[in-house]
Symmetry: C3
Subunit: 137 residues, 3 copies
């Protein structure tokens, strides 16, 4: 049983961007040499989130509608960051969550047929980090 | 330290159904032979979710009200699947999440007094899979 | 590779309170003797949640606005507990989630610069338990 960890770095380009992580995480699994076990994913940010859903641009565009519904611009938010109102990003990050796990078999991430792993940018274009920890045999 | 994994299969019968998983997951724990450790649960679907809450039908019916509040039918969703509008199921799956973990002691899942594990069907009656991975000694 | 678990106890003082867990969880990591691995956190309650976000009171106050938006008082909730309407707490617990994981390096929890771990009280002042399981070498 071994544990292996690595940081995956990405660059986001806009608010509400879904950045697919499948290939980068699969490469970490291969580097780990783990055949049977699992990968834990976690983003180190408070204005982004990790989700597992379909790689389909209509779903990602629909998410913008839901975002506006759940945390509308006109709520009386108090939080700001150096003059920027990123309160909505903090709130949605808490709702979506910042971690995931995926089983590994035969050295491959075991995702469902329609599932992919995404970092969701909720704030603005930024360099972002996703921690990947692989554990198994 | 060992790792053991098994797929639990269920059949859902309607939208917004809560299918209790406690017994099926406990059986996987017993089959694994693990006494001290944890179980990771994960559904392989993009229109369902896993939650841990009370086994109480009033809470599950209240959830229908919340579902309609969070992702109302009349938002201009773009996503469809072979003519069916399942966009709301995708969005809510991202909000609720698709994975959970539970500690194991003395070969038993350690849930809180009022907690149970549920697969939540967000779309339509379907055969669904929940992956269970048990790790420990 | 070892597994170590301990229950962290807290007392909440009001609804929508964010109780920071960083120090208590770090002490469990130190007690475990694990240098490289991860900690799994889980609350055993159905009217509270665990989140990872910024330790900033404006964000926590904004959360009250979002709470009222997502699960408003005037929805026709059915669930009650001994005459108290805590239906909103159950619903939001499912949305926020009850578990988290954090990597450990050199015996320290590896949180992002702005991240802290919180138990969120969604119901009323109560004694609450957070289970911490540490696994690693």
């Amino acid at each position: 049983m071994k544990v292996f960890s690595k940081t995956v770095e990405i660059q986001t380009s806009k608010r509400l961007e879904f950045v697919k992580l499948d290939e980068k995480v699969q490469r970490v699994v291969e580097e780990s040499g783990v055949g049977e076990g699992f990968a834990l994913l976690r983003c180190s940010h408070t204005t982004g989130a990790l989700v597992c859903n379909e790689d389909d641009s209509t779903i990602h565009r629909d998410f913008a509608e839901v975002f506006n519904r759940l945390v509308p611009e006109d709520l009386p938010y108090e939080h700001t960051m150096e003059g920027k109102v990123n309160a909505r990003a903090h709130q949605l990050s808490m709702l979506l969550g910042t971690d995931l796990w995926v089983p590994i078999q035969d050295g491959r991430l075991q995702l469902g047929t329609w599932q992919s792993l995404f970092f969701v940018e909720l704030f603005e274009p930024r360099r972002r980090k996703v921690e990947v920890l692989v554990l198994g045999e």
